[in-house]
């Protein structure tokens, strides 16, 4: 319980600081959302619209920053994120509700897959450390991990979607499919997700592989592994029950962080594949000085990261009894 309390304290303080940074940052910058709108439309918008926009956005009257801040905190506490300026007059919540499920689906699942593959490969390469296959796999994944992922996305999108037409170019599902929850729709969603997911999985797996490999090698030199060997246990039991089970623990924090950051989306992947998601929305909200949207997304990301951390800690405690019972 005390453990939980401690985490919550950290959670609240961090959230508050981050919220404040979130409030201050965009306001330090010159310009206002109305001007951003004018710039965005490259002359298509009548300059006279600025006046109307300012009234609509509620930025026609200069409010004291402190009052704005209090108002901001109040709004956040009540869960009212206001109306987006760049998607005026859609409420922020609604915009998030369109984007977040896709991000969670695509980036979340890809992250889990990348973590699983990477971890499994990490276990194998550590266990068979001296083998040739380990010697080859590692540099390959180091390379994949060092690729700019948008670049990789561009290449596979051009090759597999445009040239070979094996996969769709854009979107999250096909339009010709009846609405609602049905098999065809699920198939279509999966089909559309393959390329974007591949970019994430292929470029992210290496990191997990290395982390797990190093953890695993550390654990393999631990005495309980040697002891398990002395007990005459089969290799598989030692590899998984004794080594991997312990080696995976340190990876959890990183994995939780990654899961938390899933909310921030995979901006460049979204752009290349025109996949719906929060990344591009965040990007647009920043460029258009859409304070309410930006703030809400930041808040969500932070809450997600903190929550993921929190859950990871609990999970960690579940897997590692030393943490649970407060041993030193």
């Amino acid at each position: 319980m005390k453990y939980v309390l401690k985490r919550i304290t950290f959670f609240i303080v961090t959230a508050w600081v981050a919220l404040t940074i979130n409030f201050i940052l965009p306001r330090m910058m010159p310009g206002n959302p109305a001007q951003a709108m004018i710039a965005k439309f490259h002359g298509r918008l009548n300059p006279q619209a600025i006046h109307a926009l300012k009234i609509a956005f509620g930025i026609d009257v200069q409010k004291n920053l402190l009052l704005q801040y209090i108002d901001y905190i109040k709004r956040i506490l009540t869960g009212d994120f206001g109306i987006s300026l760049s998607f005026f007059p859609s409420p922020v919540n609604q915009i998030l509700s369109y984007a977040i499920p896709w991000t969670l689906g695509l980036v979340g699942v890809s992250t889990v897959i990348a973590f699983s593959i990477g971890t499994l490969l990490g276990i194998r390469t550590a266990w068979r450390r001296e083998s040739t296959s380990s010697g080859i796999i590692i540099p390959i994944f180091l390379f994949l991990n060092s690729m700019p992922y948008f670049w990789f996305a561009l290449l596979i999108s051009y090759l597999f979607a445009f040239k070979l037409k094996w996969f769709p170019l854009v979107g999250a599902y096909s339009l010709n499919i009846p609405k609602g929850f049905n098999l065809a729709r699920i198939a279509s969603i999966l089909y559309h997700a393959i390329l974007p997911a591949c970019t994430i999985i292929i470029t992210a797996t290496g990191g997990w592989l290395l982390t797990m490999r190093n953890n695993m090698i550390s654990v393999l030199s631990d005495d309980y592994v040697a002891f398990a060997q002395a007990k005459g246990l089969p290799d598989k039991v030692i590899e998984y029950k004794y080594a991997a089970r312990n080696a995976i623990l340190p990876s959890f924090t990183g994995f939780a962080m990654a899961l938390g950051f899933v909310i921030s989306g995979a901006l460049l992947t979204e752009i290349v594949f025109s996949y719906p998601g929060i990344g591009y929305i965040l990007y647009q909200s920043v460029l258009n000085l859409d304070y309410p949207l930006m703030q809400a997304i930041f808040l969500f990301i932070m809450i997600a990261v903190l929550t993921a951390n929190f859950i990871a800690d609990l999970f960690y405690a579940l897997l590692d009894p030393r943490v649970r019972t407060g041993a030193e």
């Binding site: 005390k2 453990y3 401690k6 304290t9």
Partner: protein, 329 residues
């Protein structure tokens, strides 16, 4: 108050107490590492401090070495009280008199620094000698004094090029560099090979004679303590339970814990059949201070009173103290 505080002692500690907080934020527990210890170390005296791991003996050394601030209690050097907080100058002065030798020679030397550099630091910091040549000379002198000959060969060596015993000698030379009056030796031989241990102990004894040093010699080995020390103090769970001259404590242990220690120590010289123990060896939980005697749960002589009321240090004769209700209170 019964204690062996003596003004003429080089060092006295009175009511020394140290608590550690473990865990953080909301889950704080207190470890009672040292609970009101009174000690005195005389001029040119070796005081052996014996106890099992976690009994607080290392903490005492570190408190005296000013690595930790005590929770409570006083430290007197040459009869003068040493404040808890000192400015850098006062602290340097203190460190000039009180030095320390560590348990693990492999870890007590910075692996990246040559022996010469390691030894030059105290000389420079305390301005013992000036000028590079003089420093070099002094380093060689120190090395020779500690049996590392030819000294010139050693100044340019890295710790990993030395054996454990040689490293420990360098550690002793470092402590010696500032001409201290008191050296706190925290289990200086326990990590060394058995064949080397005696050499180190002998070196320390020789240096004591030669330089008029005093030692606080910390060990878990009763036999080693007996070999080295003029007096022996026994610690249990952060308390001093017995103190007396070396021969008295070993030959006529009074506290049941001391008796237990003696029984458990291998001593083939008194017969090859080991003594039977009838006490289980569970270590005390330092986060839970018992109301009575800390040893009561394990003590074969424990009475009702022992678990209710903490025994006080009882003076048996001039040099002998014991903290036990078995003796007249």
């Amino acid at each position: 108050m019964q204690s062996d505080y003596k003004v003429e002692n080089i060092l006295n500690v009175k009511g020394l107490k140290k608590e550690f907080k473990i865990g953080s934020f909301t889950n704080v527990r207190t470890v009672h590492a040292v609970n009101g210890v009174d000690l005195g170390i005389g001029q040119k005296e070796v005081l052996g401090l014996v106890g099992e791991s976690g009994s607080g003996k290392t903490t005492i050394a570190r408190l005296i070495a000013k690595l930790y601030d005590p929770t409570d209690g006083k430290i007197f050097l040459n009869g003068k009280e040493i404040p808890h907080k000192m400015n850098r100058k006062a602290l340097l002065n203190y460190r000039k008199d009180v030095q320390m030798v560590f348990q693990d020679p492999f870890s007590s030397l910075n692996p990246l620094h040559k022996v010469g550099y390691t030894l030059s630091r105290p000389l420079k910091v305390h301005k013992i000698v000036n000028g590079n040549n003089n420093i070099k000379e002094k380093i060689e002198e120190l090395l020779e004094e500690c049996g590392l000959t030819p000294a010139k060969d050693f100044t340019n060596k890295y710790p990993h090029e030395l054996s454990g015993g040689q490293m420990q000698r360098v550690g002793i030379a470092r402590a010696l560099a500032v001409n201290p009056k008191l050296i706190l030796a925290d289990e200086p031989t326990s990590m060394l090979d058995v064949s080397i241990r005696l050499d180190i102990m002998n070196l320390m004894l020789d240096l004591k004679e030669k330089n008029g040093l005093s030692y606080l010699f910390i060990t878990h080995d009763l036999a080693g303590a007996h070999y080295m020390s003029d007096r022996i103090a026994i610690m249990y769970a952060g308390f001093l339970v017995e103190i007396g001259s070396s021969d008295d404590v070993i030959n006529k242990p009074m506290h049941p814990y001391t008796q237990l220690l003696k029984k458990a120590t291998p001593k083939p010289e008194s017969g090859l059949e080991p003594e039977k123990l009838d006490i289980t060896g569970e270590v005390p939980d330092l986060t839970k201070l018992l109301p009575g005697c800390q040893f009561a749960p394990r003590c074969p002589f424990a009475k009702q009173r022992c678990s209710e009321e903490p025994p006080k240090m009882l003076q048996i004769d001039e040099n002998r103290f014991v903290r036990c209700f078995l003796y007249k209170h």
